[in-house]
């Protein structure tokens, strides 16, 4: 344990308004939500001397609220609370499944949706689900709120497009309408539980009565610096029937929208092959 508590200053705002004011004044401070990412780095000794902006007292950012069209998830809602929320369970099953695979119970009880997004790991397990739900991230700052399309939040590995002074206040997740004909969430990790993903996938498919595709939404994580929607594959299958040739065509186009690498957890070859297999299984099966 190499973190030095004595070297850290902590700002502890009591409201969102106070928080964004403080953040504007101290742009170098580190916002701290559940701590499941930051504290790991801190324990290794890499963050000594920083100033932290403790968000844990901002109650208004912890709430989940259902509107007719969407679930408003406060940035500080834990993955456990999201999993247990009846509206999330009924209307956003892919997000619920994703939250259940982030770490183990202990991590889910502390880790927050906003914290995960702000951390912008390429392997964020909830990101493919949020990408296919076409969530909107609501940022707050002392100059006012800003709504950001989910995919536009990410600039690269561990980098967001949040402007100086901006913090994530909430994530708005629209309910898919109509309900998809088919949906899936799948995480392929380094082991059965509490694992960093090698590939994480979420998909929703709407089929017309004649069997043609009305819309496909498919997103992959851990396959590029940021989460990616498979635009080329999605465009290719639109208005087509999912014959084996069409499914193959979609899988061939998968590579156009991702850039998998070899890293300590997996290989480019594995990621690409398995991603194709997952897409093929999703499109090919009932």
């Amino acid at each position: 344990m190499r973190g030095s508590a004595a070297s850290m200053a902590v700002l502890r705002p009591r409201s969102a308004a106070e928080c964004v004011r403080l953040y504007r004044r101290s742009p170098d401070c580190v916002p701290l939500a559940g701590g499941t990412d930051f504290m790991v780095a801190w324990n290794m000794g890499g963050e000594n001397g920083r100033t932290l902006l403790d968000l844990s007292r901002i109650r208004e950012w912890t709430r989940l609220r259902a509107t007719p069209g969407a679930l408003q998830i406060g940035a500080l809602a834990s993955h456990t609370r999201i999993q247990r929320h009846p509206v999330a369970r009924a209307r956003l099953p892919l997000l619920v499944q994703a939250c259940a695979t982030i770490g183990g119970v202990q991590i889910q009880n502390r880790g927050t949706l906003g914290g995960n997004i702000a951390n912008a790991s390429p392997a964020g397990d909830s990101f493919p689900a949020l990408a296919v739900y076409e969530a909107v991230v609501h940022a707050a700052s002392d100059t006012g709120p800003r709504a950001i399309r989910f995919l536009d939040v990410f600039a690269g590995v561990k980098r967001t497009t949040l402007r100086p002074g901006e913090l994530i206040a909430a994530v708005e997740v629209p309910f898919p309408t109509p309900r998809p004909s088919r949906q899936m969430f799948r995480k392929v990790g380094t082991r059965a539980a509490q694992a960093i993903s090698k590939i994480v996938a979420a998909g929703m498919l709407w089929l017309r009565r004649d069997g043609t595709v009305a819309e496909l939404r498919f997103a992959l994580g851990s396959m590029a610096p940021t989460v990616r929607r498979l635009r080329a594959a999605e465009a290719f299958v639109r208005d087509r029937r999912l014959t084996p040739r069409v499914v193959d065509g979609a899988c061939e186009r998968l590579a156009e929208d991702v850039a998998p690498i070899d890293d300590v957890r997996s290989t480019r070859e594995y990621r690409l092959t398995v991603a194709r297999n997952l897409l093929a299984a999703f499109l090919g099966g009932p």
Partner: protein, 158 residues
């Protein structure tokens, strides 16, 4: 920089003064001399540091004490004494759920959250709850047996 944080630990109201970034595990072990909670990795992977905060299992190596104002903390020391073990501890003893014992405090706290939450004696459900607690000695089976035994014991008593 120093802050005074008030929290309840094992039923007792405590006041901790010190750097706000002090980790809960260090406050427990060093300030309150509750050394039952162990540090195995500092990464939130092994779960040896698991305690309950407001009844939820969390990794105490990842929580700065400033975020725990007014919260209720429970550690392994609240379960029982060697002469008066709790039902859960007795189940672990009978089933061989502790070998070297270093993962045991964290394992017990995760198990406690499970049992209190109405967990069933189903092995897959128990394993899912304990997936964030690594054990290198037992291969988990005797631990799972212990938790199932504790659940059944609790049901019989109620």
């Amino acid at each position: 920089m120093r802050a005074r944080i008030r929290l309840t630990v094992n039923g007792r109201r405590r006041s901790v003064t010190g750097p706000p970034m002090r980790r809960l595990i260090d406050v427990l072990r060093e300030d309150l001399h509750l050394t039952g909670t162990k540090e195995g990795c500092g990464e939130g992977e092994c779960g040896a540091c698991t305690v309950l905060v407001d009844g939820q299992a969390v990794n105490s190596c990842l929580i700065p004490v400033c975020q725990l104002e007014g919260r209720r903390i429970e550690t392994v020391e609240s379960l029982g004494r060697p002469e008066a073990l709790s039902g859960l501890q007795q189940a672990f003893l009978a089933a061989g759920g502790a070998q070297c014992g270093i993962c045991t405090p964290g394992m017990l706290m995760s198990a406690l959250a499970y049992v209190r939450g109405g967990g069933t004696p189903s092995a897959p459900a128990i394993r899912r709850q304990l997936a964030g607690n690594l054990c290198r000695c037992t291969g988990y089976q005797h631990i799972v047996d212990a938790v199932a035994r504790a659940v059944r014991g609790r049901r019989r008593r109620s």
